[in-house]
Structures are given as structure tokens and as C-alpha cells.
Symmetry: C2
Subunit: 235 residues, 2 copies
DNA sequence: CAACTCGTCTTGTATATACAAGGAAATTAT
DNA sequence: ATAATTTCCTTGTATATACAAGACGAGTTG
């Protein structure tokens, strides 16, 4: 058997959608209808429908049927990778400079972002990530000490903060925002920017099962760093 | 039955991974082992393994077994949504201003990005998307005329270019880059920016099965627009 | 000693069957 | 006429079974 039956059924359905024969929210054949049309068992027809549902192409509802998913909210995805991996993948030299490792009292916005009491102690680190000795990104991170006691004792030359935290408080959720900002003077110094230039800023908050782990601000010069995304609509 | 058996098995596997009991690339129990451990049929054990594989938690290999996937390339994802939908979702008023609709001869960089001959005709549109009458994003788009003949005849007040193209040349692939830039003077005028401010620029190239469809440049003021991403590590 | 075969374990595909549960429409009872 | 019930079609879960196909090691053969 060259092409599995469930794959043939998937193709059949996708062709009908791509040709426009079946529009958004149209009903597609039920498991039983496919069973008799293709002379397969219900489980095989079902597999085709389930896999297309997992892929976001169809939606199913018990008792009602299976429908072509609406593409309205079709959104494209961008990846945010670990900066150290990215640099190494370019065959460049990666290094980092640790500027700050301290325990501070949380002012209101930090406390709120970390979900802790205002004025309680939190850890703060500032690290510059370099590509071929040139600053590429500044990482300012606030960490909830309850979830990473030994944070300040780590040597982040060998393991990035993100890697360390992933190991010690397994991530369950992350939220990001990306924006374009003008760096302040301190940031310009950290990034070695003589002429002001726009920077890409990523704010990342990460959760583990026990609560908010950390709150990071990643700033990179617009001329040296960009985010990439690649999206294929699986056939 | 409150919690389905296949879901219980999934939880069992995930707990072992999250607790660190099973490390990256470790082998997990085979279908047959789970079958006897949980007193279920092989198909039920199989379902748990397959769903975790689809979710990227496990990898499977015929003849070898099932393994904990490596999180090395763990990357976070950001969404780029349709701007019109986003504005409407905020309960704001959406409108757009069409500045340019023309057919031009492609200079080299445009021709290359679209995969057409240099100096051949391509369509170009420039549209400003407004939120509550304030410019939010400038969309400059170059379109391959072979794949969207009637592009210039469209009324983009009712249907955004992205929606039109999605309908006429179903997307198979898209690539994005995001960067922080300083807008030039023309862009400042389009965006109504009196004081220069950094902008977020998204470059999007889209493919259909017949080739490259279009090449778009989306520019938004850093103070008014940001990209958001939400990632949950499914339990 | 190398190459081959065979048996066994693994995942992959496919079927037939059974019952559960949700939704909607037709039927029945009030 | 309205409300409750039944009935049917849908998807959801679960099992037992069969054979195919890839990987790998043990043993056999040259």
C-alpha cells in the first residue's frame, strides 16, 4: 500500500476545501458517509477527520457533525529562540557579560508582573549577550525567588538564565510582547550604541505550575537583530 | 467515565517527564508495556502516545520505540494577526485609506523577492490602516500579477489585500521577519508622525502552490502597536 | 571474520464491533 | 398549542484482532 487510505481521505477533503467546493463552516461528510464513500472502516475515516481537526483545518462537534474551520483568525507565527543557540547556529562566537546579579526590593510594576508583594525581595540580573564580542542583546530579568532560590549563585556563562529556569521550574506557559522602542542612555551604553537607533524589545513572562517564575526584557539593536518566522500550511 | 483512559495515560507520561524522572531522549514505555501496565487495549495506549507525539512532547520511530523529545530547539511563538480583525476585536473603529494602486516595473530587489523578471510589471498598493481614524499601520504590498490578475480592481475597503489574496491563491507558505526601524520621511507622513519614533516593521512573503504571491511590508509606530504571543505547554 | 537469515520487538495501518453521550428533529402526551 | 419524550444521527471512547514494515540482535552460513 503506497498511500495509506486515511491519507487519501485527507487529501480528498483538502482538495475540496482548497478548490473552494467546501467553504468555511460548510459541513463535511460524516464518518459514516466517508465510510461508505471510500469503502473503509469508520475508524479509518475517523482518523482522517481527527487529524485534520488537530491541524486546525476542521472543527468537530459531537451530535452536530464536522465542519470546515473558519480561517478568520488565521494568524501567522514567529519564533523567539534562545539567543545563545541562534548565535551558535550562525557559526559565530557566543559570549556573555554579566553586569548585574542582585537581590532588590520590588517596586510596584515589577511586583505586579511577578505576582509578589510590593517591596518583597526579588532577584535581578542583567546580562549582555555577545556575537563575536559585539553586544547583540541585553537581557534584564526579574526572578521570583520562591521558585528559583539559587538563582544568584548560578554561573550564566555556561547555562543561560532561560535554560536554568527551564530546568528548575518547568515552564507551563509563556507570554510575549514585541515592540519597537528607543533605548535610554543606560541601554545605549550596554549595547555599545554611539548613535541612537531603534531597538526591538521582547517582554517575556514565564509561568510554571507554582506561579510566575520570571519576567524578562530582551533588547536588541534594530540593525543587528530581527525575528524570523516560517509558516507552512500543511498539506 | 469521568477522565478517559487515554487521558490518564497521557497524564502519567507527562508527570514522569515534568518531574524529571524521564529525561530528554529517554525511552518511554512501549505500547505493549502500557497496555499491560494500565490494563487497556493497545489502541488506547497508542492513542496516548500518538497525541503526545503530535504535541511535540514525544518522538516515535518504527522498530525502535518512543522517546522523550528534546527541548533544545524549544522556541516560543508570536502571532501576527490580520490588522483589521485585531482592531475590531478591540471594539475600535476600523477604516483604511488607499494611497497607491498601480502597476510598476519591478526593480531588482522587488523582482527577486517576488521571483519574477527584473523590469517586468508587478502590482503595488499602499494602504494605511486606521484605528479610530488614527493611522496604525502602513501596508506596502507588491503582488505577482500572474497569480492575482484582478488585484488592482479590488475595493480594499471591504476586504483586506491579505484576505483577497488568501481567497484567490490559497496560501501554502509564509515567511516573516520583524525588525525595529526608523521610518523615513514619507513613512512619517503616512503614519502622521510629527516626532520621529521607532517603528515595528514586519516583512511578509507568501507562497501559493503556483509560486510567490506577494511581498508585503507592514510598518507600525512603536508607541501604538505591538505583537503579542501566548504559549501554553499543554498538559 | 564477514555476510546473511531469522526471530522478535517496535510502531504503522486497517477493520469490526460495542456502547456512551451530545444535538436536533419528529413524535407523543399533556 | 405547548411541553415532554422518543428516536435517530452525530461524534467520543474503548476493545480485540490482523497484518505490514522498520530496527536490531542472535545465530547461522559462507
Amino acid at each position: 500500500m503506497s498511500v495509506p487510505k486515511f491519507a487519501q481521505i485527507k487529501e480528498f477533503i483538502l482538495e475540496n476545501i482548497q478548490s473552494g467546493e467546501w467553504q468555511e463552516n460548510d459541513r463535511v461528510p460524516s464518518e459514516n458517509e466517508l465510510t461508505s464513500q471510500f469503502q473503509v472502516s469508520r475508524m479509518t475515516a475517523r482518523r482522517a477527520l481527527c487529524e485534520l481537526t488537530d491541524a486546525g483545518i476542521l472543527t468537530r462537534s459531537q451530535g452536530q457533525g464536522t465542519f470546515v474551520a473558519s480561517f478568520k483568525s488565521q494568524s501567522s507565527l514567529l519564533e523567539i529562540k534562545n539567543i545563545a543557540d541562534e548565535v551558535k547556529a550562525r557559526n559565530s562566537d557566543y559570549s556573555c557579560t554579566i553586569l548585574v546579579m542582585e537581590s532588590i526590593r520590588a517596586i510596584a510594576p515589577i511586583a505586579i508582573a511577578l505576582g509578589v508583594e510590593v517591596d518583597s525581595h526579588v532577584y535581578r540580573s542583567v546580562i549582555v549577550h555577545n556575537e563575536n564580542e559585539q553586544p547583540l542583546q541585553v537581557e534584564e530579568r526579574f526572578v521570583n525567588p520562591a521558585l528559583a532560590k539559587d538563582y544568584l549563585q548560578q554561573d550564566f556563562h555556561s547555562l543561560t538564565p532561560h535554560e536554568y529556569l527551564s530546568l528548575n521550574a518547568p515552564l507551563t506557559e509563556a507570554r510575549h510582547t514585541v515592540e519597537a522602542i528607543m533605548p535610554n542612555q543606560e541601554m545605549c551604553e550596554w549595547l555599545n550604541l554611539y548613535n541612537e537607533e531603534p531597538c526591538l524589545q521582547v517582554i517575556r513572562r514565564t509561568w510554571s505550575s507554582q506561579g510566575i517564575v520570571s519576567f524578562a526584557r530582551l533588547v536588541s539593536p534594530g540593525s543587528k537583530y530581527r525575528l524570523g518566522g516560517h509558516l507552512t500550511f500543511k498539506k
